[in-house]
Symmetry: C2
Subunit: 243 residues, 2 copies
């Protein structure tokens, strides 16, 4: 072990990363244009002017490729949320959170196939297991929202949870707390964050999967009401509401 591993970013590495990215780009295009069933090794290779076995030089198999695609989508979503956050002043975390939630909904509705891949993972059990890139990416995605909740908590006004915390929860909530930047937050607060996160994510998913189509042509006002509820529970000042 001497030189090859140490060559920090040779041109070879660059071109290889470009290939990795192009594979993902092609796979995503197939996902968007033809549906999840069309993102196949052979189709990707065909689109790239090569053959399927060649892709094995870049990804260990179809499963790994899909996982890498999901991870990159998590990253893109996290970036979009962070940008939405930075478009508004840091002194108004309530408004920032509102805009981030809106951006999450917009992204899901604009990219339903991608959102479907992230929310309804193919065979489950691959996301929550730590160590995987998708696990980290999903944290990077949710962290944008959770961090804003932390700032909101610092401003005070977060409603305490309606019941006393089950002690069995404490351990895992501790783990969540470690992922949050800055000074520690009481577990009561973390519980409220998780509850709000669940409600937000659920509202977006139900709409993105078309489960409101039977009743509402445009569920946006409903989502805004949900947002009002969430921000109220987090003690956001009402003046930060409605743009």
């Amino acid at each position: 072990m001497s030189s090859t591993t140490g060559a920090r970013t040779g041109r070879k590495h660059r071109v290889r990363e470009e290939a990795l990215a192009e594979i993902l780009r092609t796979g995503r295009r197939l996902l968007v244009e033809e549906g999840p069933g069309a993102v196949t090794l052979r189709a990707i290779a065909r689109e790239m002017g090569m053959t399927a076995p060649g892709l094995y030089r870049y990804y260990a198999g179809h499963r790994d490729l899909i996982q890498a695609l999901a991870s990159s989508l998590y990253d893109e979503l996290a970036t979009a949320l962070a940008e939405a956050r930075d478009r508004h002043p840091a002194g108004e975390p309530g408004r920032r959170l509102r805009e981030v939630c809106r951006e999450l909904r917009r992204w899901a509705l604009d990219h339903p196939r991608e959102f479907g891949l992230l929310f309804a993972k193919p065979d489950a059990d691959a996301d929550t297991t730590p160590g995987t890139a998708a696990h980290d990416s999903s944290w990077r995605f949710g962290g944008v929202v959770l961090d804003l909740m932390v700032q909101l908590w610092r401003n005070g006004g977060v409603q305490p949870p309606p019941t006393t915390l089950d002690p069995a929860w404490a351990a895992q909530l501790e783990e969540v707390r470690e992922h949050l930047s800055g000074e520690p937050v009481p577990l009561d607060g973390i519980y409220v964050f998780v509850a709000c996160w669940a409600r937000l994510y659920g509202a977006v998913a139900v709409e993105a999967f078309g489960h409101l189509d039977f009743a509402l042509t445009d569920p946006e006002p409903l989502f805004e009401h949900t947002l009002d509820d969430i921000l109220t529970a987090l003690g956001a000042t009402p003046d930060a509401n409605h743009r």
Copy 2:
């Protein structure tokens, strides 16, 4: 056209329906035991001791078979919800609704693969289109919940929606109203029903897809709080809460 069409339920028809059912049963078993990718025409045929093309005598193809499976799962879920409803007195619609919601969550958690098939439909666009069996079945499933909300409304106490209704919604909400039994409900009420339905369905989906595993080992108390919120919005008497 004389006799064959008129033979109302000859033995031949019975055995055919039994075959149709066995195919679905086998497909479901594969779904549960091996995951969605394993429910394949050839595997089903293999399990049943026949060959794949033979299944085309019963279903027009893989797509149709999956759709029929989804439809039957909707039916089973609707039946489970109705049974949960009937286990409690008709005079307490608040309690009935609470138990039905609990049963929905329980069913989703006990049958995650089946729930995944229903919530994250393979390629979308097949569910909302009227005329399909899955469309009717999904109505039968949601109707159990919505009907209880109607009864709750009759008892009074449903909170009016936080804003005036967008007139564009009226048309589609009218359509929803026609699906509800009994005397007509004002559109304001229907809006609240849809909002509560969305929140319920979203909460169940987020948990069933494992998106709370990162923070909560047992999200049941969180679900109960959500239920409290929903029932409060519907004006259920608090004494009907918590078993």
